[in-house]
C-alpha cells in the first residue's frame, strides 16, 4: 500500500547538546557466528530533551541496541559515546527502565529509589530530600513504605522511573516499559512520562512496538529493520509531543494517516 505522507527523512538540525553518539556500530552475539550480525552500521546521535521512540518488527535488534547503549553488551565494531566518554560498562550516566519494573523486591519503594543514591555515596540528608522529591514527582509519596509486590503494575513502573531519575542519568533508556500494563493504565503512564520529561528535560530513548504510543510520545521516531538490524527511518514526529494535550492530538488530521504510514513502514520487510 502506498502512502504519500510527507515525513522528513533527516532529523531536524537540533541546537541542543549531544548526549549519545553511536558511530558505525556492528554487533553480533559472542556465541553465534561472526557473520550473523544482529546490528549493522548503526549511526545515531541523541540530544538533550529529545524523546526518541524506536519502532520495528520483533527481533530486529531494538533491545540489542539498547543493551549496547546501556553497556550490557559491547559493540563488535564501532563506538558508543555518552557525553563525550566512551561507553564501556553499565554506569549511572545511562539509566535504564526495563519492560518489567525490575525493582528490588525486598526493598521498600523508598529504599528502591534511594538505592542508586546510596551506591553513589550521596550524603544521607541529601538522599532523603531527593527521594522525597522523586516520590512526589511520580506521585508515590503515600506508598513509600510499601514493598513492590504490594503495588499495582503502573505504580511499580512509576517507582522504577523514579529510581532511574534519582541518579540523574544523562540519558534514559526504556525497553517497552508500558507494554505489560493494561490499556487505561498505559495511557495514564504515558501522561506521567511526558510530564516528567518536560520537567527534567532528559534525553529518552524509548522502545515500543505500539505505533500509536510512538506518535503520542516521541519528538523523533526511528524505524529499524531486521537481518541485520539497521535504521531504515529516522524522522521528527510531525505530531510534536511538545504540543500534546489529552483529547486533542488524536483528532489531529494526520494521525490515522501517519499511523498507517509507520505500520506499513515497519511491515515493509517483516
Amino acid at each position: 500500500m502506498k502512502t504519500s505522507v510527507a515525513v522528513e527523512e533527516r532529523p531536524k538540525r537540533v541546537h541542543k547538546p549531544k548526549v549519545v553518539d553511536v558511530k558505525s556500530v556492528d554487533f553480533a552475539y559472542a556465541q553465534t557466528k561472526r557473520e550473523h550480525l544482529i546490528l549493522q552500521n548503526i549511526n545515531l546521535s541523541l540530544y538533550e530533551h529529545e524523546l526518541v521512540c524506536v519502532l520495528g518488527p520483533s527481533g530486529c535488534g531494538k533491545s540489542s541496541l539498547l543493551n549496547i547503549l546501556a553497556g550490557f553488551q559491547h559493540p563488535t565494531t564501532g563506538t558508543v559515546m555518552i557525553h563525550g566518554d566512551e561507553q564501556t560498562k553499565p554506569n549511572p550516566d545511562v539509566g535504564v527502565v526495563f519492560q518489567h519494573p525490575n525493582l528490588f523486591p525486598w526493598l521498600t519503594i523508598e529504599k528502591n529509589i534511594e538505592f542508586g543514591l546510596k551506591m553513589q555515596k550521596v550524603a544521607k540528608e541529601e538522599r532523603k530530600q531527593l527521594v522525597a522529591n522523586y516520590l512526589q514527582l511520580v506521585d508515590l509519596t503515600s506508598a513509600s513504605k510499601k514493598l513492590p509486590h504490594q503495588l499495582s503494575g503502573g505504580m511499580k513502573q512509576r517507582a522504577a522511573i523514579a529510581r532511574t531519575l534519582a541518579t540523574d542519568p544523562k540519558v534514559i533508556l526504556m525497553d517497552e516499559p508500558f507494554s505489560a500494563l493494561d490499556a487505561l493504565t498505559r495511557e495514564v503512564m504515558q501522561q506521567h512520562l511526558l510530564t516528567i520529561w518536560n520537567q527534567t528535560k532528559k534525553c529518552i530513548f524509548f522502545i515500543t512496538h505500539d505505533v500509536e504510543e510512538a506518535l503520542k510520545l516521541a519528538t523523533r521516531i526511528i524505524v529499524m529493520h531486521p537481518k541485520p538490524g539497521r535504521v531504515v527511518l529516522d524522522t521528527q514526529n510531525p505530531l510534536q509531543s511538545g504540543r500534546y494535550e489529552e483529547g486533542t492530538f488524536q483528532y489531529h488530521e494526520k494521525f490515522m494517516e501517519l499511523r498507517q504510514f509507520f505500520i506499513s513502514k515497519i511491515r515493509e520487510q517483516a
Binding site: 550490557f72 553499565p90 535504564v96 525490575n102
Partner: protein, 262 residues
Amino acid sequence: MKNTLVATKSFKVKGLSFLSVLMILLLWTLLSTLKWVDPIFLPTPQSVLHSFISLVVEGYKGTSLVTHLSASLYRLFTALLLALLTAIPLGIICGYSKYILAIFDPIIEFYRPLPPLAYYALLVLWLGIDEGSKVALLFLSAFAPLFIATVASVQRVPQDRINGALTLGASKFNVFIHIILPSALPDIVTGLRTSIGITYATLVAAEMVAATSGIGWMVLDASKYMRSDIVFVGIIIMGLIAILIDSIIRFYQRLAFSWVGK
C-alpha cells in the same frame, strides 16, 4: 521439604485432620489395651505415656532425656553449622563461575546419591568412633543439598536485576552484597530446610556406632531390649522435633521473605 500439603486450611479440613489423628489414637488404644496385638509389638498408649513421664523424670540408662536430646541436637546443629559455613560460600562461588563449578560438580554429583551408611564405615575408620565421625556423617548429608540449592539460587538471580543495580552505580562488590545475597537468600533458606530434613534422617545412623547418648541411640538401644514403649516415645519425640524445627524456619521464611514469588 514443602509446606504442609493442605494449604489454606478451612475449619472442615482441620477438623478432618484432627479426627484422623483421633481415630488412629483410638485404634491404637483398642488394639493394644484389648491385647489384640502383643504389647511387645504395640505398647499401650498408657505405657508409652508412662515411659515418657519416667524418661522425663529419670532419664534413660542414667542419662536424662534432655541430655539425650541435646546430644543429638548438638551433633545435628554442629554439622549444619559446618555445612552452612562451607556449602554456602562455595556454592556462591560456584554459582558465579561455571568453571569453578565444573571442578566440584563431579565430586558432589558422585557422593550425593550415596547411602550415608555406605561411607560411614570409612568415616569411622578415618575419624574414630567419637563425635568426629558422627558430625562428619551429618555434615556430608547436609552439605550436598545446601550446596546445590546455593548454586542454583545464585544462578537464578535475574541478569536484569544485576544490570539494574550496575546502572544505578553499584560496584561489583555492592552488587554481590546488595543484590546477589538478598536475591539468593530465600532459596538458600529453602535449601537449608531440605538439608535439615536429609540430615535429620541420618541422625539415627550417626548414633549407631559407639554412641552412649542421643535420642537416636536411645531408640536403637531400647529396640535391642525390646522396649517398644521407649521406641515409641523416641519416635514421637523425633517426629515432633522435626515438625518443630521446620515450622520455625517456615515461620521465619514467611516473616522475612514475604516478597518472594510476587
